[in-house]
């Protein structure tokens, strides 16, 4: 870790509450230039929320988040815009604009933030889509392509301005193993070739270990473990062990009893009449 240079992301004592529920509790970490940080953790443990605080779209209850050395939590709208032009973000849902085609989505940041001609932009769009394996899909609308393809278009859009910093929220969920490898290799190539820094949320352990230079595991809103992939792999922390090996039994509380109860109720055969009655009851 080249700690002689100031970190690109500096999160200090970040706390976020929704109502009286604490979703992020005292999170602190740094990300340095060129690192690929993978954030792991179970569904609903606050990974997307943590990303949202780093991109300035949510404000912390307390604590500070600095991007490129500037405090993003207290920044004015216009200053945030300036910082945001330097990073790209891939949303968990892709968040493509439904009214624009795939190509127009990728072109959007280029049209808004550069002075390039339409021809140049078209060329860049082609190239970015090619990087994510989507040549020839420019003219389709987002609702005409699959979820995994939307993800990749979202990635192409996040990379449109050649950002120095990339946030991506589960970039490989919904992708087949080959496309996962393609996306991972793209991240690696950008990290090594263009010294891009990346913060990647991932459940996919194969992919996580392939790209990470450092890993953080979240649980109950705080950092359970952090370290290099090697340190995480050999960690003696039972929660980490359970998560990276994908075991159902272990110290991570699953709150399954409630789910099981509901599940049983659903599969229990019901008399036909009662099912119809319920149906009528639900329909307004």
């Amino acid at each position: 870790m080249n700690s002689n240079e100031a970190p690109i992301i500096e999160v200090v004592d970040l706390v976020r509450k929704f109502g009286d529920r604490t979703v992020l509790n005292d999170i602190s970490f740094n990300v340095h230039r060129g690192e690929t940080l993978v954030i792991m953790g179970g569904s609903g443990c606050g990974k997307s929320t943590l990303l949202r605080h780093m991109i300035g779209s949510m404000k912390p209850t307390s604590g500070s988040v600095k991007i490129f050395g500037e405090e993003i939590a207290t920044m004015k709208e216009r200053e945030i815009g300036r910082v945001r032009q330097r990073f790209g973000m891939l949303f968990q849902s892709g968040a493509l604009l439904a009214s624009l085609t795939v190509g127009e989505n990728v072109a959007l940041p280029l049209f808004q933030h550069t002075e390039r001609s339409a021809d140049e932009i078209e060329e860049i769009v082609k190239q970015k889509l090619q990087m994510v394996g989507l040549t020839g899909f420019e003219d389709l609308k987002p609702d005409e392509i699959s979820g995994g393809m939307k993800k990749r278009v979202g990635l192409a859009r996040a990379l449109a301005l050649d950002p120095e910093l990339l946030f991506s929220d589960e970039p490989t969920s919904g992708l087949d193993p080959i496309m996962t490898a393609v996306v991972d290799q793209l991240t690696l190539k950008l990290a090594h070739g263009s010294h891009m820094t990346a913060v990647v949320v991932s459940h996919d352990m194969t992919s996580a270990f392939r790209i990470a230079t450092r890993m953080i595991m979240l649980g109950h809103g705080s950092i359970v473990a952090q370290g290099t992939p090697e340190e995480i792999r050999t960690s003696t922390n039972p929660e980490v062990h359970q998560f990276i090996n994908g075991e159902a039994d272990g110290p991570i509380p699953l709150n399954l009893s409630q789910d099981e109860h509901e599940h049983h109720q659903h599969v229990k055969p019901r008399p036909f009449v009662s099912a119809r009655f319920r149906f009528h009851h639900k329909t307004p």
Partner: protein, 273 residues
């Protein structure tokens, strides 16, 4: 007496009343903020080099205005016919049928034209804008715009606002023509007017202020309708259900605000002078 007062006060602090006040306050605050930022992006930002793009304005003019034209035409025609028939019915008893064109013309220009066409546009285009922006909000598209450093007000609201500001007065003029045509149909086919007589009476009766006051009204209505629709859409919470509620709310709020403003403007234009 004291007990009664206490009861009234406690009713005032009822949680439902308080939560209604809180949500009304929140809507008003959001609404004011939207208006301020809209004015910033239209009037100030262009001088700092941040121009809005003009082509989306035209696209929105088609969505908001041109596509509403058939409905506006049908409504205006029926209103013109109705006005002429009502006027003829009342004026015949006085032997003053000659004034039917006057009544159709002045009522359309001053009141019916701007209000009815605003009603159509609220129901058709205002609700569509609220639903569209609301859907974008719940599917994270608005957040994605912000993260790409694209201001949603500049990118989404400004084109719709300008389109509405042009198209609602334009539709009103269009509707006025059709309405006067409806009046002509009644006058020539059911009463003893010839076309030249109808046109002459109609033109004589109206002065330019009748037209201008209607245009001012419909520009004000355009502002109200589109800002309320955008505000409702941009602040949707809670998925598809929230989008539905926001759409309904935007129609109700816009109708109320428009009708109240109409009364105020009529008062200013034709009573207070």
């Amino acid at each position: 007496m004291v007990i009664l007062l206490a009861a009234k006060l406690s009713a005032f602090f009822d949680p439902r009343v308080l939560s209604f006040c809180a949500s009304a306050y929140r809507i008003l605050k959001n609404y004011l903020q939207l208006n301020i930022s809209l004015l910033y992006w239209i009037l100030i930002a262009p001088f700092t080099g941040q121009f809005f793009k003009i082509s989306p304005v035209f696209r929105q003019m088609v969505f908001i205005g041109v596509r509403a034209a058939p409905m506006v035409a049908l409504t205006a025609f029926s209103v013109g016919v109705t006005l002429a028939m009502q006027a003829a019915h009342s004026l015949q008893q006085l032997g003053a049928e000659i004034y039917v064109p006057d009544l159709v013309m002045v009522t359309l220009l001053r009141e019916m034209g701007p209000v009815l066409i605003a009603v159509i546009v609220i129901g058709r285009s205002g609700s569509a804008v609220a639903a569209e922006l609301g859907t974008m909000k719940v599917s994270e598209e608005i957040e994605a715009l912000e993260v790409m450093a694209i201001n949603p007000v500049q990118y989404l609201v400004v084109p719709r606002f300008l389109a509405m500001l042009v198209m609602l007065p334009a539709l009103t003029i269009f509707g006025n023509y059709i309405g006067v045509f409806g009046g002509w149909a009644v006058c020539t086919f059911a009463l003893d007017f010839n076309t030249a007589g109808y046109v002459l009476r109609a033109l004589q009766s109206a002065d330019t202020w009748d037209l201008y006051s209607g245009m001012i009204k419909s520009a004000v209505f355009a502002w109200i309708v589109i800002t309320i629709a955008c505000n409702a859409g941009l602040h949707v919470e809670g998925g598809a259900e929230g989008v539905g509620q926001a759409t309904t709310a935007s129609v109700v709020q816009a109708l109320l605000a428009m009708l109240v403003t109409n009364a105020v403007l009529t008062g200013i234009f034709f009573f207070a002078v």
